[in-house]
Subunit: 374 residues, 2 copies
Amino acid sequence: MKIGILGGGQLGRMFIQEALKYDDAFYTLDPAEDCPCANISHHTKGDFNDYQSVIDFGKDKEVLTIEIEHINADALEYLEKQGVNVIPKSSVVKMIQQKILQKEFYKKNHIPTPDFQVIQNKSEVDFPLPFVQKLNTGGYDGKGVQIIRTKEDLGNLWDAPSVLETLVDIDKELSIIIAKNQRGEVAAFPVTEMVADPKLNLLDFNICPSELTEEVQKQIAEIAALFIEKVDSAGLFAIELLLDKEGKVWVNETAPRLHNSGHQSQEGNRNSQFEQFYRVLRNLPLANTEATGYSGMLNLVGEQGFSGKVEYEGLEEVLKDSKTFVHLYGKTETKPGRKMGHINVVAHTKKELMDKLIAIKSMVKVKSINEKVK
Amino acid sequence: MKIGILGGGQLGRMFIQEALKYDDAFYTLDPAEDCPCANISHHTKGDFNDYQSVIDFGKDKEVLTIEIEHINADALEYLEKQGVNVIPKSSVVKMIQQKILQKEFYKKNHIPTPDFQVIQNKSEVDFPLPFVQKLNTGGYDGKGVQIIRTKEDLGNLWDAPSVLETLVDIDKELSIIIAKNQRGEVAAFPVTEMVADPKLNLLDFNICPSELTEEVQKQIAEIAALFIEKVDSAGLFAIELLLDKEGKVWVNETAPRLHNSGHQSQEGNRNSQFEQFYRVLRNLPLANTEATGYSGMLNLVGEQGFSGKVEYEGLEEVLKDSKTFVHLYGKTETKPGRKMGHINVVAHTKKELMDKLIAIKSMVKVKSINEKVK
């Protein structure tokens, strides 16, 4: 089958890698000639934000999907009307692209999400401190989100359409990946727990399973079921959740695609999120998502102070451990904070898992020998 | 790293698929424009049997390897002298390419192999019946091998340089895959047992681990250790073994590359033969080869009577089983006996494994809707 993907980054790369065990032809649209998918797919260099580029790319594909949500959704809508099988639906992508619509979707469908005010500009702010400001569009990897704690912080407010949201007193950051195929079968992965790096605001450790009370698990199951029912589209979705200190679960935001919080499924679950996504696109029976033990993931991001041709420190040591798995994204150039790869760990106990992740974090560095940024 | 592969078939495809989790660039040389590696590597259409084609392809690669042994080994030798890192060494490829040299290698190094006579033409035959005739060159997938049982069969003898070999009274057909990296580390996979389809002479089921006495395991370990020592080259090798009814193990032949008998390692072992081969080529610490339970593999070969655009029957049913894994090779055209893919099964017991493999074999068919060969 001809499967088109808007975006040619690492999510697409790992998806294609997994799906190479079947007989499909993969096409990617990405502006970067050397994007991670370039050499393993039929790659078209082009702008996935450009209406005509998306239409030209998508019109002859049997299934069209995304690996990044910041794409031209109007073009997706047009293609849908022309009969292209777009997964997820353009309406869902549009809703998720805009934080304001996304929040309103949760509210309308009684999906618990922190209280919020919608503003078009900063003169409209009328919301109790402290709060989180999320730009309506363009946020990604923690960009476009800031915490306003004090009156002084109000001076930092972005003067743009945004959601202002009650700051949750976070106990845990969680994620659940849930998939629906085109015949309506639904399957979720076990909940994972994120440990963020406060400096970079990029997902850092991601462990599975998260140790949660039955009551919390029940809340999450209800949220996921409600979301997948109301969103009314085949697809694979990552619902990012916040567990507050009183044991209540809130939806932070959702990605309508493969997600960093599911990478540990490559070796930690019977099937990975990538295999599951393939089954969604081909409308096959959904895969077993069971965890086979404890597992965790550590992002490899470019070290501060290094830029240029990437050099990894400590990887060989990591490869000696038979329960540790290196995944690099085929990016030749590093820069501070750039996601270059990740390492998965499987373990029998949570302690074994955490000890290893911490050891690896201090051992593996993403540097560059050629240049050092001043 | 620029890694060149002579051949662009399924072995190369599954190798590249596995190795996509690292940051290398893969180049393949294969005469078929639509070979399984074509769209996932930098593919050069060309003849790997042609001296100049191999040199032109290989001269700028940092590592050059093979996924088929019927290639121009003189070109490999030339490139080696020019400083290209050829794995395995051209001398090993030459020895294995020619059954006569291969048999003499075993004899010289006291590696147990059935008694044999070398002939240049059929007038030289002076060997007790029954025996196996193996053509010196060109044998592949069971071709170029025949059994001569009776005086009447002597009329079928091929009139070409061959090895005539004592027919072993086979109890089991076994295989061991063993790897050596460039720093001399050696690791073997658990022994697998083959069950051949007598009609096609293509590997059919391959199960792991094989239930063997300690005495037999000891013989195999000694053979593998002796082979890897004497062959004196980094590489991954599949040693095909025959266990006779008296409990003695003989080497049948060796492939200097990834092998069909190692496919079940994709889901049945901590690491697959493909991961191990990557580590050989990059001179990394060898991977843990432990089996995680029982596992088995079933080849998907084109049904007799069907030719043309491939259609798989029964695959969807197989995908519902969470311990069953489908691997297709990206070949669009089937023909009788063509290897199109394989299915791996993992299980807790041997009975569970065999029951599933047998059920899958009767359920999954490789056909073609468009054409039926008369």
